[in-house]
């Protein structure tokens, strides 16, 4: 309370003039971008109308990015089929990559020298050669191994035998190729996660009588997930777009479908936009999934889990509302 009985004293917040200038500059650029994206401009094409007997000619007004064409092709079956292939390749390649990555990471950390050297060599080879080369190799795998036989070398013992050319589709070969490449990158991510778990956790599990395998499955991997998930999310999103390389070997994915269409009608930019918008859409879904997955595996690591975007929006809105409702000021005692 101040001497005259006034409970609060007005607080003047610091004014950030530099920031205001920054906001104005950024706002100007944003307005220009919005204008160029969503407002019609005069094109080279001239259209003429006869208005009350007088012929009037003018440049046709069009969207710079031809949104009408984007909309026209957005849901065509060719694009949607391409999208499905892209999603299939991403999912299969990532599943192979993650399983392989964790296996190689565990092998790499094995006390057995042979296992750890094999793991190291695998990573060295698949990270060291371009993924495009690997993809080309796998698409021609049928030429190198027309028949695939698993057995003991130099003997007649065979376990499995199958004809590569007839039973392996080009798309499956691509998925395997991308997956094997991804395995090398995932193994380093998984290894980072595994070594981030405190040694004491492993000792505690061991002292309870857990075997190495149980310790890994029940204690190490669940805690490593916290470190593994963010870069893995990165890898999934990166893989989504890396799959566009398969169009080189003739698999028609999302980008391939767009390319096919624009090579016929020459609407290059709108079709690239169609493909990009689909990539963005899938990326958004994946990022959201990653957020909730991270939250799930953060259990116990944080005292309070981070708010979901909806919760955050709610508190933000409540904060803004309360700013308008209450007078600014703090109580000062005399």
């Amino acid at each position: 309370m101040t001497a005259n009985g006034d409970a609060t004293v007005k607080v003047v917040p610091v004014r950030h003039y530099g920031r205001w200038v920054g906001v104005a500059v950024v706002g100007l650029f944003l307005a220009m971008v919005v204008h160029s994206l969503f407002f019609k401009v005069a094109s080279a094409r001239i259209v003429c109308h006869v208005i009350s007997g007088v012929k009037v000619c003018q440049h046709a007004m069009v969207y710079r990015y031809q949104w009408n064409i984007v909309g026209q092709y957005f849901f065509t079956s060719e694009i949607l089929h391409g999208l499905l292939r892209t999603i299939f390749l991403t999912v299969v390649a990532m599943v192979i990559g993650i399983v392989l990555g964790v296996t190689i990471a565990v092998m790499r950390m094995s006390p057995n020298r042979v296992l750890s050297s094999i793991a190291w060599t695998y990573t060295w080879f698949f990270r060291g050669t371009p993924v495009l080369v690997q993809l080309l190799f796998w698409s021609f795998i049928g030429a190198v191994y027309p028949h695939l036989t698993l057995g003991v070398p130099f003997t007649h013992v065979t376990f499995v035998h199958f004809n590569v050319n007839t039973s392996l589709t080009l798309m499956e070969a691509c998925a395997i190729g991308l997956g094997l490449n991804e395995g090398a990158y995932m193994s380093e991510i998984a290894r980072a996660g595994l070594i981030s778990v405190d040694e004491g956790q492993i000792e505690a599990a061991t002292s309870l009588g857990m075997t190495r395998r149980q310790t890994l499955r029940l204690v190490t991997i669940p805690q490593a997930m916290r470190v593994i998930i963010p870069p893995t999310g990165n890898e999934v999103i990166s893989m989504l777009k890396t799959t566009s390389l398969v169009s080189v070997v003739g698999v028609i994915d999302l980008l391939g479908a767009a390319t096919n269409i624009y090579s016929e009608n020459f609407e290059i930019v709108p079709l690239l936009i169609v493909a990009s918008l689909w990539y963005l859409l899938v990326t958004t879904v994946l990022s959201t999934g990653q957020f909730y997955l991270e939250r799930r595996f953060a259990r116990g690591a944080l005292r309070t889990p981070p708010p979901t975007p909806i919760q955050r929006l709610r508190t933000d809105l409540a904060g803004v509302a309360s700013k308008f409702r209450t007078r600014r000021g703090i109580e000062v005692s005399a």
Partner: protein, 250 residues
Amino acid sequence: MVKIHDVRKSYNGVEVLKGVDLNVDRGEVTCLIGPSGSGKSTLLRCINHLEKHDSGELRVDNELVGYEMRNGRLYELTDKRVCENRSRIGMVFQRFNLFQHLTVLENVTVGQRKVLGKNRDDATFKARELLARVGLKDKESSYPSQLSGGQQQRVAIARALAMDPKLMLFDEPTSALDPELVGEVLEVMKDLARSGMTMIVVTHEMGFAREVANSVYFLDGGVIEEYGDPRVILITPSSERLKNFLSKVL
């Protein structure tokens, strides 16, 4: 219960244990004291085979730790057998080492279910009983990070007890605690000692050693310098080194 004879252990050519002898009878509480680096923790970790000793004889419940004697040869035990033996020896660590991703209840049930193969209901029943015993009945759904150090250590004791151990090892259980939290952990340990549990405790709590221990071993430089009844050796130590050590910690 525990018989140790001439046990030696080196790390990278540095001998940490230089022939240690130690005997613990069933139901006895033994404290290991000594300056840091004297080999107390290493000795304790050898007893449940977290560390392999290089030579000497180490028996728990009359069975060799980590080896088996057959036809006059020592066979190293398979991992599975080592794990089986280890599950009956409880261990409590200086830094608690509770599983961070599991709740208190899950911490106490995971070993019972996955190692001993108990079903969920039996494991939960036993876990609740033990949590009540260490005074943490209402914390079963908390995560370790939400508990104080003293509470975490009491959960760690409950987790070890859930395996029905025949022997409990404590590796400086109160050294990482704030002073005002030491009491609650020592109280649980005293209660455990009164119930007849065989315990080997590495500690700097001389009060606890004097009050609870049946015998105290003083380790220095990898050898047992002196051992005996705590009421005798902690008050009238005969070796110069123990006198010196006690004058620093008391």
